[in-house]
């Protein structure tokens, strides 16, 4: 009876409100990928020799690889020679204060809800804003610096803290890891670098906002977060892109290192442009995210709300190497129209007494395909490990697909590993219950979906939770909230 309403609710949505383009003078290099391009990118960023070598090694390795096809995705052929690998808004040097930022850029980020002027901000968050290939502005740096926290773009970090970057870059995600990791290592442009020194609890949320603006480009950013002994940081990531008919590639790498008793919380609200209702345009989001819990009793928590992208292909992972370390993964992935997502996590238990929790909630609507793919692995010498996995899928509409591919590999007899998954549609009883109490079906669907995702939403930092909840509502329900 309510199928039409659900179809309507799921199929329609409001317009993508971040789909505008900023008309700004952009320094963009010609399309194509070769060693010369890699050298050019490196030269443009005035990089030291060792980094150029790193890029070239990765590029040469990438040339030997073929695009992988194992995911449950149908990806049109990508012409890697038709993409421009570097695009930068043409400004003077990086802005020190908000007044120095190009007003056009400032307006863009204001429009996106990311105030770059510090006086305008809630005091609780420092932002690194990345437009296309470069970091535009990083706020609150001085305040952070006073505590020894380094928060800057990775290009600056290469110049200012070469030893740190050299020590950690590629230590978690090697350039040989996979096809897109190799590509990113060769051409990565900008991203954020965070270093929390020993014993420091970062006083505010750190946040990076990624924006693709230029046409015919890809974004290849690289984020590196290092939490030294007893440190704590909560890091947020957001992303949007303009509406275009063409597909744009976003292949990022996020590396996290947590030392003894350190804790890192990484939250993502991913809202890249998802393409129109027929599946034209949209961003290909092929990301490698991995954290290494190197120290004893360290903790890494991934929380992600995935609503955008034409195709999402990412598995934020934890390598639990330190004894007693903890990995967490909370995810809500929403797909509608023609979107496709193959996302999940990997929990690699290497140390003893390591624990991991995976909660994944998939919601698919329209003609979309939503897959959870995860790996839980317990190494032979990792004693006393514990994993709990729960992945649920909610289906709205009869043309969409929801799939689950968990891989569980246990090589130690003291491990306890549990996996549970369910797939169903919104229950008629729940809808009926709401209707009975005078809640229209559209609104009821919104309520039920929000309730369903609550477990994950609760893990988001406050600033993000409000945004994410709203996003979930508009993505699925148009005007329903």
């Amino acid at each position: 009876m309510d199928n039409e309403i659900i179809d309507k609710v799921a199929g329609e949505g409001d317009d993508y409100k971040y789909g505008f383009v900023t008309d700004i003078d952009t320094d963009i290099i010609p399309v194509g990928l070769s060693e010369d391009v890699v050298r050019l990118i490196s030269a443009k960023k005035h990089e030291p020799e060792w980094l150029l070598e790193f890029r070239l090694k990765a590029f040469r390795y990438w040339q030997t690889l073929e695009m992988p096809h194992w995911a449950h995705l149908s990806i049109p052929e990508i012409d890697f020679q038709a993409i421009s690998y570097y695009a930068a808004p043409r400004t003077r040097d990086k802005a020190k204060t908000a007044d120095e930022v190009d007003p056009e850029l400032l307006e863009t980020f204001e429009k996106l809800g990311i105030p770059l002027a510090e006086r305008n901000q809630l005091a609780g968050m420092a932002v690194d804003a990345v437009m296309d290939s470069v970091s535009v502005k990083t706020t609150h740096r001085e305040k952070l610096a006073s505590m020894g926290v380094i928060f800057c773009s990775i290009s600056e970090a290469v110049k200012d803290y070469p030893d740190l970057v050299k020590k950690y870059l590629g230590s978690v995600v090697s350039y040989r890891d996979n096809f897109f990791a190799a590509l990113n290592s060769a051409v990565f442009s900008d991203g954020s670098f965070v270093y929390i020194p020993k014993g420091v609890r970062c006083p505010m949320e750190l946040s990076t906002y990624f924006r693709i603006n230029a046409m015919g480009t890809g974004q290849f950013e690289r984020t590196l977060i290092v939490a030294d002994d007893d440190a704590y940081v909560s890091y947020l990531e957001g992303c949007t892109a303009p509406m275009r008919d063409e597909n744009q590639l976003h292949a990022a790498i996020v590396e996290i290192v947590a030392e003894d008793r350190a804790e890192v919380k990484y939250s993502t609200v991913q809202n890249w442009y998802a393409g129109d209702r027929e599946g034209r345009g949209g961003v290909y989001n092929f990301v490698t995210k991995r954290g290494l819990c190197r120290g004893v009793c360290s903790k890494l928590s991934w929380t992600q709300v995935e609503t955008g992208s034409a195709i999402t292909w990412k598995y934020p992972s934890c390598v639990l190497a330190g004894d007693g370390s903890v990995g967490e993964f909370y995810s809500v992935a929403v797909t509608r129209n023609r979107q496709q997502a193959d996302t999940g996590t990997k929990m690699i238990h290497v140390g003893s007494d390591t624990r991991s929790t995976i909660v994944s909630k998939g919601i698919s609507a329209g003609y979309s395909e939503n897959s959870y793919r995860g790996l839980v692995k317990v190494a032979p010498n990792a004693t006393g490990c514990r994993n709990y996995t729960q992945c649920d899928s909610l289906l709205l509409g009869s043309h969409c697909g929801a799939h689950t591919f968990p891989y569980i590999d246990v090589m130690n007899d003291t491990a306890i590993v549990e996996h549970e998954a369910t797939t169903s549609k919104i229950s008629e009883e729940q809808l009926f219950y709401c209707n009975q109490r005078g809640i229209p079906t559209e609104e009821a669907v919104g309520l039920i979906v929000n309730g369903y995702a609550k477990e994950v939403m609760n893990k988001l930092p406050m600033e993000f939770a409000v945004e994410a909840q709203r996003l979930l509502s508009v993505t699925l329900e148009g005007s329903v909230g």
Binding site: L395, I416, E420
Partner: protein, 451 residues
């Protein structure tokens, strides 16, 4: 070297002999199988998707003899008569390596409407029926090169046919015996056709008396017509030198009920594949599996259950207890096709690792293309409940005994659910002996199998 090549060479050199000792539909299917094998050119290797922990290539790699000339290999059929599950009354038949041997009582007592005979003979005597089903339920798309290899070399096997509306009063028991003085590959083929509203239970017992390496390649095809009830219990109790590669394909029509139990009590290397398609609506499937491993045993179960009709139900439960250096793998997929409404599908995989060296790999999957479904899967891997062990020891039960009792209790829901009268009771006894590590002697069979 590629394991497949030796079999292709063997076939090409002896194509005429292979066909001469077989008949009709079995021979007709060989050309396509050969074409596929040549095109793909290899058997699956370890690490490939779906074959994460088992290399089919390695299983087929040893230089096994294939009895294409149908030379009589002496098999002690006396063992067959002792194998009967004493408490169960069954019609008994045997397959010696890959040759069907009916017992006197089977020939005398089989009721009207039920046919049990050699597959090759059936293909010659009733070609219409065999052609209609043989190789139609097993699809190359799913079975791949291992299926094609079986089709290429299969010369005989068992044909079971139950006419419309006939309800077999007793279970059919087929004892598969592997016995040979030289390394041997037995290529078996089983075709079960249960017509509309019929009812049949079949118990397959796999025994190996090989002191040397043997391989059983088995393909079972099951057709369950409208409203048919088919209950299959496939029990393996072989030896550490035995490899078994089994594929079971089933097609279910409106309102049919299919129940399959795969029990691996003792083995060497085993790979069981189950491909079940619910074509009609209101079909019900139960697929259970149990594996007990120790030593160097390897047990790999793989299932693909597809719902393409409305109102289908399916339930899968696989349980493993792994001790010693044994390894287990389970990969199960539930697919609900687009347009298949109101389906309910559940899958569960529970494993106990009882030693440090035991390994378990699990991959339960859901592929859902419709919103009107209720599907779930669950998987756990852990060890025996320490509290329960402590409780029992507190009450004076020795550790080994307590462990054994818990493991046995763990398997109980599978054992109780086999659905063949008398078999559950027998299984309970067998499983207990198995856990105790006592010499395995299946029922009263004379064959001793070292654990």
């Amino acid at each position: 070297m590629n394991a497949l090549d030796q079999y292709i060479d063997l076939y090409e050199a002896n194509a005429a002999t292979v066909s001469a000792h077989s008949a009709g539909a079995l021979n007709a299917a060989r050309a396509d199988a050969l074409e596929l094998l040549k095109r793909v050119g290899r058997l699956p290797h370890k690490g490939e998707e779906g074959y994460e922990k088992t290399s089919v290539d390695d299983m087929f790699a040893p230089d096994y003899g294939v009895n294409i000339g149908r030379v009589d290999i002496p098999v002690d059929l006396a063992a067959v008569f002792h194998c009967g599950v004493p408490t169960a009354s069954t019609w008994l038949g045997a397959v010696a390596n890959d040759k069907f041997v009916p017992t006197e009582s089977l020939l005398r007592n089989i009721p009207e409407g039920v046919t049990v005979m050699s597959l090759a003979a059936a293909a010659a005597e009733m070609p219409d029926v065999v052609e209609k089903y043989y190789g139609r339920i097993a699809s190359e798309e799913r079975g791949g090169t291992p299926l094609a290899l079986n089709t290429l070399l299969a010369q005989d096997g068992v044909f079971i046919h139950v006419c419309r509306g006939v309800k077999a009063a007793k279970p059919m028991q087929i004892v598969n015996l592997l016995s040979s003085p030289v390394p041997l590959m037995a290529v078996r083929r089983v075709l079960v056709v249960a017509e509309e509203d019929s009812d049949i239970s079949i118990l397959f017992c796999d025994h190996s008396r090989c002191e040397i390496k043997c391989l059983a390649s088995q393909v079972i095809e099951i057709y369950a017509g409208k409203g048919a009830h088919v209950n299959v219990c496939d029990m393996e109790e072989s030896s550490s030198g035995t490899s078994r590669f089994s594929q079971l394909f089933a097609e279910q029509h409106d309102g049919s009920e299919l129940k399959i139990n795969g029990l691996t009590l003792l083995n060497g290397i085993t790979r069981n594949e189950y491909y079940i398609v619910q074509k009609g609506s209101r079909a019900v499937t139960t697929l259970d599996g149990m594996a007990i491993g120790n030593g160097e045993q390897h047990i790999d179960n793989f299932s693909e259950l597809s719902h393409s009709g409305d109102h289908g139900r399916s339930n899968q439960l696989f349980k493993y207890v792994l001790d010693g250096s044994s390894s287990g793998a389970f990969a199960g997929t539930i697919t609900v096709e687009s347009g298949a409404r109101f389906n309910e599908a559940y899958q569960s995989n529970r494993n106990i690792l009882a030693s440090r060296e035991a390994r378990m790999h699990t991959k339960p999957q859901l592929l859902i293309f419709n919103d009107d479904v209720k599907c779930s899967h669950g998987a756990t891997t852990g060890q025996l409940d320490q509290n329960a062990l402590f409780y029992m020891r507190q009450r004076g039960i020795p550790l080994a005994e307590a462990r054994m009792m818990l493991m046995q209790a763990f398997m109980m829901d599978i054992i109780d659910n086999v659905g063949i009268d008398g078999l559950s009771e027998r299984l309970r006894h067998l499983v207990e002996r198995r856990f105790r590590g006592e010499e395995m002697m299946c029922a009263d069979c004379n064959a001793k199998h070292g654990v």
